[in-house]
Symmetry: D4
Subunit: 247 residues, 8 copies
């Protein structure tokens, strides 16, 4: 009997799930993602033509959904600028952000702090920043406080202690999350970057360092995955402050 009820519930889920897929031929846009996962589908722009990119953005926007695109290159950015002049673009972080009309007055829910070890980590950090803000969080950036001059971090500890989640972006040896993790009481999402040379092996060294982090509150995402860092931190932060995050 319990199985039967589970099945019925699952069937309902499936039923409501099927309509909102928009089949564009080259892509199947998941219009139910926001309802299921708490945020609409995000567009990874690499390898998409300007026309395709415009198509997906239009589809999401006309469906009344927030639209975030990442890894937008210069040509794509110019094209989107012409099509959607009201959208906000961060050219350091290579992000595009076109919020749904009805969500424009929302108030920030939760605080995300984004920290970088060096200046060269800024593009990845900006991607995280734009993502966390798109999720409705108050997000701040603290740059160039790597471990070789650790007093620069200590000067800014208060900012981190306020956060509901911290994103630490670091290339080279990737040691900063270990230090930050030991100083705060919230989850830390470590984002290794491909900044470095030689035995950094395009970010592998930083990735391994972060995976072996002694601090218990540190998890890791893919190399240069600023989006994912900001997304998970955003999920954590707003979860705390909202009982009703789903659409």
């Amino acid at each position: 009997m319990a199985d039967e009820r589970k099945l019925q519930s699952e069937i309902s889920n499936l039923k409501s799930a099927i309509p909102p897929v928009a089949d564009l031929g080259f892509a199947q846009v998941d219009l139910q993602r926001h309802q299921r996962c708490g945020f609409p589908e995000v567009i990874f722009s690499e390898g998409k033509s300007c026309a395709h990119l415009e198509g997906v953005v239009s589809q999401l926007h006309s469906a009344g959904q927030d639209c975030l695109a990442t890894r937008v290159n210069d040509e794509q950015a110019a094209h989107l600028e012409r099509c959607f002049p009201e959208a906000e673009q961060d050219r350091i972080g290579r992000t595009f952000w076109l919020p749904a009309v009805e969500q424009s007055q929302r108030t920030a829910a939760g605080k995300v702090a984004i920290v970088t070890a060096g200046t060269a980590d800024l593009p990845v950090a900006h991607e995280a920043l734009a993502t966390a803000r798109a999720m409705g969080c108050e997000a701040s950036l603290l740059a160039d406080v790597g471990v070789a001059g650790i007093h620069r971090l200590f000067r800014n500890l208060d900012k981190l202690k306020d956060a509901d989640a911290v994103v630490v972006v670091a290339g080279m040896e990737g040691a900063l999350p270990s230090v930050v993790g030991g100083l705060v009481d919230c989850p830390v999402v470590a984002v290794p970057t491909s900044v470095g040379y030689g035995a950094s092996f395009q970010g592998l060294a930083a990735l391994l360092c972060m995976l072996n982090c002694c601090a218990a509150n540190v998890t890791v995402v893919n190399i240069d995955a600023g989006f994912k860092g900001g997304y998970v931190a955003g999920l954590i932060a707003r979860r705390r402050h909202s009982d009703n995050v789903k659409g």
Copy 2:
């Protein structure tokens, strides 16, 4: 001026930080960890003699702190059983748990769901389970629902949808977090395990799979790091339900 004030605050922090280190010679037990990070220092038992392990447990316990130890082998377990018969040991997950006296009536804050792909992932899952419970969360286990028979997962979706954080434990190809991530709206902590053979390379395949996960809400910890998976999930879950988690 602002710098001056930050410095004063930092000095206060440092001052309060210094006394609670208990120097045992072979280890410096950090008695302020709970205050700073929200949970006391956890003991990694590998490579410790029974006497040393007993020493650290005693130190933490007599300081009125919860005491969790992981990777407790058979000999250590028997020794600790004799010394601390009131403690709870999970021999599948190889954990030891001795809560502080004054914390025995606490109520669960937040829900953590732990999912495994196969039966062989159970020891790592149990480590996560014991950790999440030690952090004060209500934690449940759903075993053997790997992707090759995906309907087993769908039958149990409701359990996952309740959770504040999900820990997915998987070896072999490590594909389960990608599927789970797309079905829930909370953060997913993926724990790759060394279960497998040949090109699993002791968990490397599962680790890489999880790091490249398309689902935006999935972060990763070290191979076989059940403790860390449970810890971060616990941090997320209880954060939502409590404004006052620090001692």
Copy 3:
């Protein structure tokens, strides 16, 4: 005596084998491949000059054989277009297909379904598609049904259940073959792609994931090897429907 007879048979084989090699100086075109392996030699165009490529195509075509070329770049495609205007070219999959005259009325034997996880996997999928069709199979394409939105796959399960063989093309984490493998009763050929970034290591993550696949019916080919995926699936599919596939 048995050995003697085997030797005689082998000598016959060798004798018939030797004439059909066309020595073009820069290449030795194997004109007996169709007879021996069931399909003529296929041309890998990378690194070949337009003149060389034209030479090999002409050689195969004038010998009355089907001619399939893969990895045809833009310059080569334009050259071949001028020389063989009757041929069919797929510029997404970068394939060239010039069937032998006498084989133009053949009917499809066997069904191959080709599935991709994302839009960026399309070029590899098209290579598989063109190959399976060149082998005489009915081949269909189902794109962008990756595991992070698994309901998109379930909507199309019927198509897969019809197939004699399924080719699953996926980059990033490469998890899709594990799910598909558990839902069908025919062999699945998994093709990892180099789509991804960071810890995808140009397709290594997807490759390892697929090699460790729990589903028993999944085998793997090289990264981006759409041709091989389509070829093996084609061999399997038409084998079922034909007792007389050799020339």
Copy 4:
């Protein structure tokens, strides 16, 4: 409408899928696998206690299903011998085979040839052999015909030319599938083994060699995965000879 009908069909599938899961606590035995995938769930014995192993075997057997177990160690084999004296065990391949009663008179459907490069590859080859036979195929073994004495292969070519699928098992450099692939017209499943030393890196060298195989008809499975090699070859072989393989 079409979507609606697909959904109904999917619901039916799900409904029939749910009952046959046998939840043993430590494992969820998928009793519908044969119906869905053409063969019952196969037991991977590594890491299972004798009691658990016996439990799963009993469950499958009492449900009237064929029961194949792989990687059965000496202790498990002795235990199963006592419980199921009528079962067939291959101690070289470490397999256990207990066919369902009603399937005992079946006739072989399809031919699988299993070839090894060296004597040390025999355990993996036997696992493939037992699997292919369990699937109802006629399976033969040709051992020790590696490429350094290639005439040994040529003496036995006729056997391979009869096969519907060939499994090639090789360690060290793993070159044998490339040669075999160029001599037959059926699919070849290459199984790399961990046989070797030094730069074989526990089978990595053979695995990479096979993945880069020039012969178009060769696919690859995991290192030492004799079971999977035999399984896929069996699927291919019997598919050709049977229109009604599902239960």
Copy 5:
């Protein structure tokens, strides 16, 4: 006493060694290499300016030594063509060869056979060819006889059986040396090439395959190291036919 004599001999060696170093500032040309090692210093042209390259060639030539340069790019080739019009350049193998005047009538000593698996391996094979000829050997080239069409090799076995040393050049899976090694009684030098894609990892797959070669007479050099393959084969071949190879 014996030590004393060894020392005296060593001092003599060192004394004669020191004068022939020509210090050009950017390079120290070893003019004694021919006497010590049997062949003059060979110039690796990568990263050298045209002026530097010309300088080293002039230095060797004016010292009456044979001058071989490898990895000569188009710009360098044009420059050297103007400076040394009498030299022989192979633009496929990217080699430059300017023999010393007094050695122009030498007769070939020893036979080297160079074999390639595919057409794309030709540049590396030509480098080996030019090197073996520069060493005074009779060198022949047999191209495109890879293992997937092994009868192409068998047609040409006689050529290989004549050789004093065989160089086998192969990319992709790198399996050809294993077959050749089992068919000849002379040393085989295997040269892996970076030809391939995906899991060839720029020649790593072929390199590992060759290092694990079962045939006892196969040794390996670096990826794409046609020069070294030709050099060692040349050393072996001419050694057999000459008792007095040193200047």
Copy 6:
């Protein structure tokens, strides 16, 4: 009490540390580095715009500090040449050096010898050279004395025996530090370079070779890290000759 005093001392340290950070927005220039570590912050120019680079140089210079920049590309070099015509630039080593006014009459303290295996290692060696000189050491360069013509090294042993520290720069097999290490009584800093091809894997081979060096006095830095090699050698050399190196 002792703890209290340590804290006071640490507070003093922190206090003096905080003012000298110059926050430029895109970077936090550590103006206390010279006092704390014995040398000012060095600028890694990769990825910095000309304006940013100029900004940091100006900041350091106006603060009365020595200014060393590494990895200066052609465009940056031209820009800096216009802004700071009095600075010294080494275009082979890609370094920029602008000493503080008051330090211009300093005398060399300690000797550093820099040795390269080949001509192609010169850029990395020049970076080391400029760094060691910037640190106030007398630094010499000995090029192209690799192990394949080891007598070239022996001719110059006296130069090495004078040194307080030796930097050995080598690509390809990276064997030179092992030989040098066994011939001198001072520390040797080994710098692997990315010079090589094929199995050098961009310097990995040289790096591993140097890490496994049998000579006890050899330590290693990152691939192509000429700066770090020169820096550590400079620290060692001047330490011996000066009791008062801090500002």
Copy 7:
């Protein structure tokens, strides 16, 4: 016509090739290897039972062939000692040598010098030594002359200069072949060993070092492959001194 003649010759080869295979069930002993490759099949003992090992030895011996076995463990050695007391066993190199009766008075043809970097490399060196002697060469051993004390090598240069081929056995950094290669005029076979720890990665560091060796006369075999090192050196050495090495 030429093809026809080649075919006839090949048929003759094949015919003579087929009879001498002795099929023992578990192995196919190649009795024609000596005729084809210049030395009988050599037995790799790892993984063979004592009975199987005895069987192959007996088969080769009774066929009048020299019998060399490598990697003979203690149990196998004791068994073979009882069966073939007249054989020669080297327990350091783990070799077994039972020459054919009629070849007992042969005279040494060619000189092989075997050199090791350290004492721990001796087992691999002894395997090479026994192999070279089995091939009829005069072989000498020079141990513990690694590069960190390079004068130990120079004291013994005369021995190396006599050799027709040199085998250099080295673990750790594997630098010795580079130095030796630059001092002799014959081919050098480099054998990396798994001696070392940490970043030696079981011989990978030495292997990569040797593959990148600057000395032109150095080729490489697998890690710990003393047999192959001795075999190739033996082939080279005796080739020089004999025009009639085949049976």
Copy 8:
């Protein structure tokens, strides 16, 4: 002329070098190492029999040299204890130390500080400690001050600031040297350890982290190479305080 004089000097060097090699058959003990490199040959005990180990120790001791042995296992330790009861053994660091008689009254020259991240790093740290002391330095140990509780390091900064060289021993993520390097003005030798699990890959993660260290004064040695860390630090430290360190 200058060359001539260099040669004479080199000849003198070689002459004095040759006598002090003690050839024990299984090893060539370099009795001149102390004179050439500043410290006698150190014995790596792994793989040596007790008799051999005793032999080398006796040889060095009777030649009036200090004798340090590392990696002494329990059996070797007991044997050496019986033979040389006056020697000092550190069973945590597995070292053996038997100073020469005439050097017993020496005074410490230079200070070495050894720091560990965790308790499990102690064996490696003790090896460094014993080595630095054997070299005549005053060496101190500071344990368990890893980055996850960074205040433990700050409490002890004064100890580090006194040092002439710091050895930092760390496993897991290996981040400690980056922090320490930014706080001191002397060279830091980083020793990665194999402490950790999963993605630590036996110390690879820590090694890569340290090689990519941003702090300019950090160099690296092999994984677990406590001896080398202590040796280089000792060389640096005593060099500063002594102008006459050679015998």
